[in-house]
């Protein structure tokens, strides 16, 4: 038995004790000496110009250090390029405090810096600003006919593939067909932790920015571009994050503000946004979708058409992949996909958990349910008849795809066979009961990443990579990978992340961290392992003499021949005999394009949900959810399960309550707080079963992992919406399904 076999087990979070003891520090908690506090002033208008900022009135208050606005901001970078971050969409990024123009409501227009937070906030409330207001438009409904197809936008955006087959003709000739429009409003990420940046002034124009971000390198590059800083002038650190969900992928204006003030005042500065301001930093866009489907007599799909329109700002073409998934989740020869944007006077939307897919999936999976009913088929049976063995968008096989097995296991666990097809046919506890399902597909991608591994003479391993931990379990799974690679117990390994002094890693998003950074960590540990093997082979009587790296393994603190376990050396003895205090190795990892080229790389899932609906009052209670995920190999059963549980909660929120409501008269989000932007609470969450269906896949990456942060959210929203239909016979096509829609 080995004790150093960690991958696939369920160890606790290695950073758990730090968190519960309050020893894990978040960006707004670094109490560096001589700290000043900045408070952001937000525009009350949506479009227009600032005429005057009465900054002097506020500067006169004792303790107020400075008021920054476009009137006094020093020379900053001029070209758009300098403001572009790694995942900036097409267009011109927003430049805070750059010009008097107001282009969206709650636009940051000034920063008041004072000796205390309370004083900064007070002074900010006193700051008078004259505006000239212009007419604005924030309502997507007014832009239905003004959509345009964006060009190639940000990293990862794929314009929809060209139509295949004869989608119009096939629809016309279909035995059964449906056509329906689906909509959801804007949603905000609402992580518990507010965006905050503490900038430590190190002297000589050098700073360390403790910033809430999902990508320290992305922020460092941005700051270098905008403020003309050198790489050594600015270090960016983020070791813990109180939730990101995509809101921290791009540098936010809080970091701009804090760095600006620190450089100008030559002093350490902290800027923390308010909960209200958290509604001015990007969101899942308000989206309208049109779905058309038709079936053949045998219940196979004859045609599928999916068109989406969503909002973006006036200055950027924010893009996400909304409709492409519909061309690959089911087998269909005649497909037409369309994707358009419309410009409004709002801030740019931003990636939010399963961006694009979460939206498009609701359209597709509710339409599939409608189609199943129109064709007189059980919704699961209908999906099985249309199972896609190949990704028809690119005409390639999947590297692995165990969705069928997900269907089978989840349906069995859920008891789908007890469901009666007719709407309103099931009742319990005086309520209508509904059962629904939905499935999804998400990218399994890998990005270039680097890592460094160091081992000390006493066998303690440290591995570093500048990735992030936003609660997903990065510290834990990287520790597991490193420990297993070098045959060490978990407690002999420390994984460090979130610092631009460490080797570069990509922003932590897209569910690619496990695959990307995990592979880099494994490679760095293997590189270190090769060095250790060389040392072990130095003594003339080494039992490992002549062995290649592939022929040895690290297990239980030993290095031994794979085929003859008796030929072993103790790792610590090797290190101590070498006389070196420390060994280190760097490595990076890239996707193996040659190997991957012939395949489509994706994770899949399915969710089954049961609801009880009080018919008179319209109240909905989700009573059970079963979610099955096929995402390659699961590194940590516990943190992976937590990711899926969180995803189900997100899916439920999207289905039943989440919506940021805009008052178009003001162009302002009005429920911009936790009391009125409803996210699910414990009482809303039912029992959730999570099933992982293992996939062996050495094509995606050497670890065989696909990532699970996002795929688990898919299907859930549609499953609940479909269950509500099954319970009530009412098809609600605009989310969230609040009780008034069922009255």
């Amino acid at each position: 038995m080995t004790q150093t076999n960690h991958i696939g087990k369920a160890p606790n979070r290695v950073d758990g004790p730090l968190k519960v003891a309050g020893a894990a520090h978040y960006s707004g908690e670094f109490n560096v000496p001589n700290l000043a506090y900045g408070y952001v002033v937000s525009s009350p208008i949506t479009k227009g110009k600032i005429l005057k900022v009465y900054a002097d009135e506020v500067r006169a208050l004792p303790g107020v250090l400075e008021v920054f606005s476009h009137e006094n901001v020093p020379y900053l970078a001029w070209f758009d390029k300098s403001y572009k971050d790694q995942i900036a969409p097409g267009g011109s990024p927003f430049r805070p405090l750059h010009a008097p123009d107001i282009t969206f409501n709650q636009q940051p227009v000034a920063l008041v810096v004072a000796d205390t937070f309370e004083l900064a906030r007070y002074a900010a409330a006193l700051l008078r600003i004259d505006y000239e207001q212009q007419a604005h438009e924030t309502n997507l409904e007014t832009k239905r006919t003004e959509g345009y197809a964006p060009g190639k936008g940000k990293t990862g955006f794929q314009p929809p593939p060209p139509p295949r087959g004869k989608p119009d003709k096939a629809l016309e000739n279909a035995t059964h067909s449906i056509e329906a429009e689906y909509a959801h409003g804007a949603q905000h990420h609402n992580p518990m932790e507010l965006f905050a940046t503490t900038v430590e002034w190190r002297g000589n124009g050098q700073i360390t920015a403790y910033d809430k971000t999902q990508g320290v390198y992305n922020v460092q590059n941005y700051l270098m571009g905008v403020f003309g800083l050198g790489k050594n002038d600015v270090r960016v650190v983020n070791q813990f994050m109180g939730g990101g969900f995509g809101s921290g992928l791009r540098p936010q204006y809080s970091v701009f503000m804090a760095v600006l003030a620190a450089l100008e005042l030559k002093r350490s500065v902290r800027v923390t946004l308010t909960r209200q301001q958290m509604f001015s930093i990007g969101h899942r866009p308000n989206t309208l979708q049109l779905l058309k489907m038709g079936t053949n007599p045998d219940g196979t799909l004859a045609a599928l058409q999916h068109h989406a329109l969503h909002e973006t700002s006036q200055f950027e073409d924010y893009t996400e992949n909304v409709v492409n998934w519909s061309g690959m989740l089911y087998k269909c020869e005649n497909v037409k996909l369309g994707y358009e944007l419309a410009k409004l006077d709002i801030y740019s939307p931003q990636d939010m958990r399963a961006p694009g897919a979460a939206s498009g999936n609701v359209g597709l999976e509710v339409a599939m349910d409608e189609m199943a009913y129109a064709a007189g088929l059980d919704p699961l049976e209908f999906r099985l008849r249309n199972y896609a063995e190949r990704d028809q968008n690119v005409d390639k096989p999947f590297s692995s795809k165990k969705l069928r097995e997900c269907y089978r296991q989840a349906a069995a666990k859920f008891g789908w066979e007890n469901r009666t097809q007719a709407p309103r046919s099931m009742r319990a506890n005086g309520k209508l009961v509904g059962m629904g399902m939905g499935g999804g597909v998400w990218d399994a991608s890998q990005q270039k990443s680097a890592a460094k591994a160091l081992i000390s003479a006493d066998g303690k391993l440290t591995v570093r990579s500048a990735t992030g931990e936003n609660g997903t379990g990065t510290y834990t799974i990287m520790t597991q990978i490193a420990a297993e690679t070098l045959g060490l117990p978990l407690k002999a390994v420390t994984f460090e992340l979130g610092d631009t002094d460490q080797p570069e890693a990509p922003i932590q998003g897209g569910s690619w961290t496990a695959a990307s950074v995990g592979t880099a960590v494994k490679n760095a540990c293997d590189a270190l392992g090769e060095k250790i093997l060389k040392l072990a082979q130095k003594p003339a009587d080494s039992p490992l003499m002549g062995a290649k790296y592939e022929e040895v393994e690290f297990v239980n603190g030993q290095l031994r021949l794979r085929l003859d376990h008796a030929q072993a050396v103790v790792l610590r003895d090797v290190l101590q005999a070498s006389g070196k205090s420390q060994l280190e190795a760097d490595s990076s990892a890239m996707p193996n394009m040659v190997k991957q080229n012939g395949y489509s790389l994706h994770s899949h899932n399915v969710a089954f949900a049961e609801v009880e609906v009080d018919e008179d009052l319209g109240t909905i209670k989700v009573t059970r959810v079963v979610s099955a995920v096929a995402a390659g190999r699961i590194l940590n059963q516990k943190t992976a399960r937590s990711q899926v549980l969180g995803s189900v909660v997100w899916g439920l929120g999207m289905a039943l309550m989440e919506e940021t409501v805009m008052d178009h008269k003001f162009g302002r989000y009005m429920n911009h707080n936790f009391a009125e932007y409803h996210i699910p609470v414990n009482a809303d969450i039912p029992h959730i079963d999570v099933i992982f269906v293992h996939e062996d896949d050495d094509i995606v990456n050497p670890l065989g992992v696909k990532g699970i942060g996002e795929v688990g959210m898919l299907g859930v929203t549609a499953a609940i919406a479909n269950a509500v239909f099954h319970a009530t016979g009412k098809r609600v096509r605009d989310l969230p399904i609040m009780l008034d829609k069922l009255l």
Binding site: P44, E118, R121, Y122, A125, Q276, D614, D616, L617, G618, T619, K621, L656, M657, V661, D663, K665, F666, R668, M670, N671, H672, N673, A675, E676, H678, P680, V681, N682, A683, D684, M738, L739, D740, L743
Partner: protein, 339 residues
Amino acid sequence: MYPFTYSRATNVADAVRDKAGHKASAYVGGGTNLIDLMKMNVEQPAHLVNVAKLPLSKIEDLPDGGLRLGATATNSDTAWNEAVKKRYPLLNQAILAGASPQLRNAATNGGNLMQRTRCYYFYDVATPCNKREPGSGCSAIGGYNRIHAILGASETCIATHPSDMCVALAALAPTVRVSGPNGERTIAFEDFHRLPADQPEFDNTLAEGELITSLDLPEKGFAKHFAYLKLRDRHSYAFALVSVAVGLEMDGDTITDARLALGGVAHKPWRDKAAEALLKGQPATAETFGRVAAHVVANAVGQGSNDFKIELARRAIVRALKQAAEGKQEAGDMYLGGQ
């Protein structure tokens, strides 16, 4: 947040004097509402008198068979008080349907009566609001008004009183005892909160400087036949879209006495005495309940996003009356996640 001074009062007379001695001053209880409003610059008191430690936290029997709820007793201590649970389970349920355990542990009974509306515009100083700034206009009219009033609103304000506790109180009809610069007086609960009319800046009839000292419940508690039904956008920790408090007395299947109040529908907890009269002497049937419910919402007016509340209120009244007549609810139900 504007700078302010702060003092902690230890007896009622000092508290009243301290407040009267400072311009733009305010009492603060648990602070769960006032402090939020101060942070958002909605309220800017220059002086706070903390009343949470006044000796007003007792819950004690009154000689007339009623129960006195001290103004500074917390919502939690009130809900879980044995006498409240046994004699006024409707109040127990209503309190437990509100906010979260943490908030209820801090919130005081006086503060609960005095809490301000949750109107989105009232909280956001970037928008006009007559309640916050008289004469500036009402943004909710013609705006987003999902949580706004359908009864008793005016052209200047369509806000609702957000409390759950107060809906049960409206049905139980206590007297509010207050102490002020001009001495003590009592206010009937139904006269405590007011409708907006053309002065939405006033939520209630408390005079300047007056401090709530207790709520005196009459003996009648409707402990056998009662219901508190709260409908909201999530299962906990959300304000009521519509809530209904019912207390009945029954003789067999006949209703001999009735109380009916609604929350989330008006500028004040909405007790409907005419509806109560319609219930008296009637059999507890679906037909009776339907007739009464229709009466309550007969003059209701929707504002757009809250149009649904008229029908929702009607149905909720029917359901709550039925539940009360069945008499199956018990104190603490709400705590266990009941709807």
